[in-house]
């Protein structure tokens, strides 16, 4: 990653221009040509540094609810459990963590009742009954851009 890449990455995480020619406008801000910006972004995507460019939404403002779930899953059931859980489009993140509650996933849906139903369904399908559903009571911080 070179200095130009860094400048571009710091600029496009939060200040991507919402305009007719965003890469041209980025170029003007950073003293680069439109082609130079597009080439760098293409490379950073290829290298896997940029996952995607797009909108990130406040799910609550769209009247969706979100929660963090944690489950105690026996070692030999992990693969099966993860497959069942990940099949729900509302499950956006899912991690193995070293703890008796070893599987941690986030769930977004239009109504908490949908999530409750899904968790019941997951318990029935997998036999895993110790699943915590912990919606946020209060958000203190969401920072999504990182200086690189």
């Amino acid at each position: 990653m070179n200095e130009t890449d860094r400048k571009i990455l710091n600029e496009i995480q939060s200040d991507f221009p919402i305009s007719s020619q965003p890469y041209h406008d980025l170029g003007r801000r950073l003293n680069l040509t439109e082609d130079e910006v597009i080439e760098a972004v293409a490379r950073l995507k290829n290298e896997g540094i940029i996952r995607r460019i797009g909108g990130n939404f406040n799910s609550a403002r769209l009247n969706f609810v979100s929660t963090l779930c944690a489950a105690k899953v026996p070692e030999d059931k992990i693969d099966m459990f993860v497959e069942v859980v990940n099949d729900y489009p509302g499950v956006t993140h899912n991690y193995l963590r070293k703890n008796p509650y070893n599987i941690w996933f986030t769930f977004i849906a239009e109504k908490m009742a949908h999530i409750d139903d899904a968790l019941k369904e997951i318990a029935e399908k997998t036999g895993v009954t110790e699943i915590l559903n912990m919606p946020a009571e209060k958000m203190f911080k969401i920072k999504v851009d990182f200086e690189v």
């Binding site: 439109e34 939404f57 769209l62 110790e130 946020a136 203190f140 911080k141 920072k143 851009d145 990182f146």
Partner: protein, 163 residues
């Protein structure tokens, strides 16, 4: 609130923008909207806080943050607000939430912390702990990532499951 046109726009910009000199014109064309209206509506969604952020999402691991941990904290109820705000001021903390404890899981405050390695994460957690005098906490490193994706709101195909 969002109307039907907004929902179509959201379904188009929640993925990866086409890498084209005029990406919004390309997307607008898909739903027969003119580019100016498409752009104005995105700006309005952003102004109204429905779009929290518009831009690039990085894979942290490749961008120099090799380690991150979820830290679950046990805070006295009376101090949750004060401590949540204190944690939020740390630049190494990306997310901070209060969640109610459940069953045999007593923790009620959660932070995501980012460092260049595990040792640094332990040090960050220790700094957070000392700054708030919270001694009861657990670092939960992710051992494996099973899924990491962005939510698909308002899928275009109505037969798709919405949960």
């Amino acid at each position: 609130m969002v109307d039907e046109q907004d929902k179509k726009i959201i379904s188009l910009i929640q993925g990866d923008l086409p890498l084209d000199p005029s990406p919004f014109a390309l997307l607008a064309k898909k739903i027969g909207m003119d580019e100016d209206e498409f752009i104005d509506r995105i700006k309005s969604l952003k102004e109204r806080g429905i779009i929290r952020r518009f831009g690039a999402t990085l894979r942290h691991q490749e961008a120099g943050f090799n380690s991150n941990a979820m830290v679950a904290w046990l805070a006295p109820d009376s101090r949750i607000d004060q401590i949540g705000k204190a944690f939020a001021r740390f630049r190494e903390v990306s997310h901070c939430y209060h969640r109610a404890p459940q069953r045999d899981w007593p923790y009620n405050l959660y932070t995501m912390i980012h460092g260049s390695n595990k040792e640094e994460c332990y040090q960050i957690a220790d700094r957070l702990s000392r700054s708030t005098d919270l001694k009861d906490y657990e670092l939960l490193f992710s051992e494996k990532e099973f899924k990491k994706t962005s939510m698909r709101y308002f899928p275009e195909k109505t037969h798709e499951k919405t949960i």
